[in-house]
């Protein structure tokens, strides 16, 4: 068993990356999702330690100072961040950890952990992305304006793709999950993830 890897999955809102990540975790027993910390209030049904670790703003800012996070971002009035320790412990144990984070956070994480693998989930076309966003917001009064805003945001996100290692198209959830799992499998076969095995060969 070699070392696992950190996989950072990003992509525009509405592309379906959450579903793909969920399916990948279901299908592969050494792939886990990192649980982030946030200062926003839990929504109905959300459990501390499952969707997020819910902590106070003071606590969060203290942790920023202590380098507790692989990456963190502030949206409006709330912080969101990925704790480093559980992720690093898991990859040493041969597990793979998926971080679902925004393009800005992905860049931060890659700077700190250059072996982190960056995967961008893209829609088959921009028309299809728009269609999915509209469908998701059906019946919502603010739908159209919100969709336009998300499409604008998608455009900005595409400018980060060149900094990613892989791009996977979500034309079909199962095919897209296959792609993500192939990437995870291949990365686990990297020479740098198999140092112990190579040491054993040298003992000839």
């Amino acid at each position: 068993m070699g070392k696992g890897s950190i996989f950072i999955v990003s992509g525009p809102s509405g592309v379906g990356k959450g579903t793909v990540v969920k399916k990948a975790i279901e299908r592969c027993d050494n792939v886990f999702l990192s649980v982030s910390c946030t200062t926003r209030a839990p929504r109905e049904g959300e459990i501390d330690g499952v969707q997020y670790y819910f902590i106070s703003k003071e606590e969060f800012e203290g942790r920023i100072k202590n380098n507790y996070f692989i990456e963190y971002e502030r949206y409006v009035d709330n912080y969101y961040g990925t704790p480093a320790l559980p992720v690093l412990k898991a990859i040493e144990e041969g597990k793979n950890v998926i971080l679902e984070i925004e393009v800005g956070g992905a860049r931060q994480a890659k700077k700190r952990y250059e072996d982190a693998v960056l995967v961008f989930v893209a829609p088959p076309s921009n028309e299809e992305l728009k269609r999915r966003l509209l469908k998701r917001d059906e019946g919502n009064e603010v739908a159209l304006a919100a969709v336009d805003k998300r499409i604008e945001r998608a455009k900005e996100e595409y400018n980060f793709i060149e900094g990613y290692d892989y791009i996977i198209i979500n034309d079909d959830v199962d095919l897209c999950t296959d792609r993500l799992l192939s990437i995870i499998k291949a990365e686990n076969l990297r020479v740098r993830s198999n140092k112990k095995l190579i040491e054993k060969l040298h003992e000839l």
Copy 2:
């Protein structure tokens, strides 16, 4: 359809890399084996253009001067080399080309084509490699001396592993083929192999 990649597969004699490559090609319709040129005489049953392109020493040396080869090596009195043009043409067409070459040639090829993906096929253990070599040479008088020589050669080859991208263990032919195919699939999802697709996204 993105660009294909060059996959250089190496590994010690007896590890079974030929069988793994053959199975990978059978199982995947956009994976091809590059046909090398050689100056050695064809053996019984070998067909020009299938196992090798058989050319004269003068012809080979002329082609070296013209940068015809991705890599070439001289063993004893014969040259062996990988023609560049058909390989580059195939990868532009989205095909993946496997080159089964020695560690020295692999290093040459990687210098010239830095996007070439280097895969080292390793035995599950050195004892197993010895067992496979002995089995293959059963009934052969020079078997033991030849096996020892190959094991010595394997030791030297292991020193090159750190220059490879991936290491796959051939404990089981089908599992090892799965590993090679995952690597090929993942490499085809690289951002650098999907420039046209990314251009299309930018057209939003």
